[in-house]
């Protein structure tokens, strides 16, 4: 879909570029080359400048993520409580590592710094829902539930 449809309410002032990118990503899941060009046109700026902003911020994705985005917390509290193990457990369960998306497009894994639930460390979030006090079993169970949900859709 052309991005302009989402951007109606966003003023064409270039200070709104980040907001516009966030809006596009919310709808499309990522920023495609096409979107990027359209955004550049919308704000009357060169595409490289838009790309420069996109590449600077960790939030923006340039390829299509899976249906469920697993964000493993590697903040300080989670790190000392074993986020490395959590990453291993997730890899065992999904076959992918941080930064990857599986072939079926069900899961993507990313590493983030602190979800602000440090008192329940170690934690991960799946599509924004935080799961705390993780153990290997809990990771397995949680991800299997999501996988089932994906298959049911």
């Amino acid at each position: 879909m052309p991005v302009a449809t989402y951007l109606k309410e966003i003023d064409k002032d270039s200070s709104n570029l980040i907001k516009a990118l966030q809006t596009v990503q919310k709808h499309e899941g990522f920023i495609s080359d096409e979107n990027l060009k359209e955004l550049a046109e919308y704000f009357s700026m060169p595409p490289v400048e838009v790309e420069g902003v996109v590449s600077f911020y960790a939030q923006f994705k340039r390829s299509k993520p899976g249906q469920f985005i697993i964000s493993v917390c590697d903040g300080t509290a989670c790190h000392i409580k074993g986020s490395d193990l959590v990453k291993n457990w997730i890899t065992e369960e999904t076959g992918i590592e941080s930064g990857e998306t599986d072939d079926e497009g069900v899961f993507s894994v990313e590493t983030v710094a602190c979800l602000g639930c440090c008192s329940l460390a170690p934690v991960m979030a799946v599509n924004g829902k935080v799961h705390g006090n993780l153990s290997r079993k809990k990771v397995q169970k949680t991800l299997r539930q999501y996988r089932e949900e994906a298959h049911n859709d």
Binding site: T76, L115, G116, C117, C118, S119, K129
Partner: protein, 568 residues
């Protein structure tokens, strides 16, 4: 008589299952109101339910959505009743976070019933200069890490004649292990806004921005609701002048917490810091004079105006006034958010409030990746800006991670360097390349390939990065390394000279041992091992083993342990 039932659904509560508890209670409780509130700071007890009766409140911890817990709550039964530990009650001083978790965060009415916006009213009757003066006299220093006196900053902005003046609330909370600002925004968004509006009156600002980390969706939601209410009720019209308010979402870059980088990010650009001066008060957002303060700094302002600078400054030490919020996490029992008077010792926070066992703690990391560690032997250090600086740590924004004896300090330093090296914006050579070299050196040491020359390199390069970097990120990035080197050099030496990780954390320096005398041959480890490193006769193949600890976890008789790697 029960008045109403409150469920703590801040994000810590939700992560522990508070949503399910809230749904269950709302469905099954018909005689009383069930409402969602924020977090009272006792995160270890989540999901937490408060029963408000005519004369007092009862708290219930770790509530589950079950008939049993429901009955217990309605009867105000003993089961799961949370009694606040005396040690914590005696040491805490709730001023800024007084209402957090006690009121419905998105209810303007409730905030007002509890004294909300009275400070703004009072301020509006005062001359702006007097408000600035009051904040100066309170001794409030910035809670975002730097500790710059807030009143002085406001005075600089107030003196500007410009038509457009900007206020920014720094809600980027980048320290990975801190969540005080998040809690304030989720639980008392109106208090943060009240502080900003008082600041707008005092400085003559015409527009305010709140720059919030994208990882905090609930904080954004509550702030947005609060702002809608403010605009609807014209609370943002200060003596006839309307103040524009906008929430801006960050996009995941730690460096954007630095004030000049934040301004660039708000302008829609790459969040690169720039040289100061000119300071934002001279050249800020789109060239307008700008002041940036932290969430907690703003949340202090209504308290100062309400009780007056004299009363406010009675709490604290000579150079650090008022209270400070800390996010307590790591190796201790009572994790959560605490508010303590400045001048309290680290030990009081860790042992008395946090319930950590004496002797089980090696150090605390304060101030996150820009901060330093403070070893247990210095736990009598008072929490104030100057005492912490003298130990090579910083107050920081309030992340306080307790590090138990079973953690490796070299690996902890490596962790922080990994974080800052990745987050460096790349502008300064020392920060971009220097931190990467520090990281590689630390990696070498944790892998057992380090030499004395590596330790020398860390000690030599660290201070150069501090000197050679433009912004606070680079200037503070070596702190975790330098402070662990200062207090835990023996651990570095053990890694380098003996190739031993004393805490048995660094995977390349440990192996897994099965004690065959204790082993009952249940084969649980053999079945569990994800890489099939344990043979049918229950021997571990060191080369295949990834030290993932899965076998240790499943062993029913604790026959498996980590031991220092044996040489060939």
């Amino acid at each position: 008589m029960i008045k109403r039932i409150k469920v703590g659904t801040a994000s810590c509560g939700i992560a522990a299952g508070a949503d399910e508890v809230y749904d269950y209670l709302s469905k099954n409780v018909t005689d009383h109101d069930v409402v969602e509130v924020g977090c009272i700071g006792h995160c270890y007890a989540e999901p937490l339910v408060e029963v408000e009766t005519e004369d007092r409140s009862y708290f219930f911890e770790n509530v589950e959505p079950t008939e049993e817990d429901l009955k217990n709550i309605l009867d105000v039964g003993e089961e799961k009743r949370l009694t606040f530990r005396k040690e914590r009650k005696d040491k805490e001083l709730l001023k800024v976070s007084r209402l957090a978790g006690r009121i419905v965060p998105t209810s303007l009415q409730e905030y007002k019933e509890n004294g909300g916006y009275q400070a703004l009213e009072k301020a509006l009757e005062m001359d702006p200069d007097n408000v600035v003066e009051e904040v100066k006299n309170s001794g409030l220093r910035g809670r975002g890490g730097g500790g710059f006196p807030t009143g002085i900053k406001w005075g600089l902005l107030a003196a500007k004649e410009d038509e457009t003046k900007i206020l920014i609330c720094n809600a980027d909370e980048g320290d990975p292990g801190a969540f005080m600002d998040k809690s304030l925004m989720e639980c008392v968004p109106h208090q943060v806004m009240e502080g900003m509006l008082i600041a707008a009156h005092a400085t003559g600002a015409s527009e305010v921005f709140i720059y919030v980390r994208a990882e905090y969706p609930r904080a954004i939601e509550h702030l947005t609701t609060a702002i809608d209410q403010i605009i609807e009720n014209k609370i943002n019209v200060l003596n006839g002048k309307e103040i524009g308010i906008q929430v801006k979402e960050g996009a995941g870059a730690f460096v954007c917490g630095e004030e000049t980088a934040m301004i660039h990010s708000l302008e829609g650009k790459r969040g690169m810091p720039r040289f100061r001066p000119p300071y934002p008060t001279d050249d800020g957002y789109k060239g307008h004079p700008t002041v940036i303060n932290n969430v907690e700094s703003y949340a202090n302002v209504p308290v100062i105006i309400s009780e007056g600078a004299d009363e406010y400054s009675k709490v604290g030490t000579e150079g650090s006034k008022g209270t400070k919020l800390f996010a307590l996490a790591g190796d201790l029992e009572y994790t959560g958010i605490v508010e303590v008077p400045m001048g309290i010792t680290i030990g009081e926070i860790v042992y008395d409030i946090g319930g950590a066992e004496k002797g089980s703690v090696k150090a605390v990391q304060i101030g996150g990746p820009s901060g330093g560690c403070i070893p247990a032997k210095h736990f009598d250090t008072p929490v104030d800006y100057d005492s912490l600086n003298s130990l090579g740590a910083i107050m920081g924004s309030g992340g306080l991670i307790v590090i138990g004896n079973n953690r490796c300090m070299v690996e902890t330093a490596r962790y922080f360097l990994d974080f800052t090296a990745r987050e460096s914006c790349g502008k300064c050579t020392f920060c971009r390349v220097g931190n990467m070299r520090l990281l590689e050196t630390l990696e070498r040491i944790t892998k057992g390939n380090g030499t004395q020359a590596d330790i020398d390199l860390l000690e030599d390069l660290g201070p150069k990065i501090v000197d050679g970097s433009l912004c606070g990120l680079g200037q503070t990035a070596p702190n975790p390394v330098l402070s662990t080197l200062r207090f835990f050099k023996d651990e570095y030496k053990a890694h380098v000279e003996d190739k031993v990780c004393p805490a048995l954390v660094c995977n390349d320096l440990v192996e897994i041992e099965i004690d065959h005398d204790t082993c009952i041959e249940c084969m649980a480890c053999v079945k569990t091992c994800p890489v099939d490193a344990i043979s049918d006769d229950i021997e571990v193949d060191v080369d295949t083993c990834t030290r993932c600890n899965s076998c240790i976890e499943v062993c029913p008789v604790d026959a498996i342990s980590r031991i220092p790697l044996r040489g060939e």
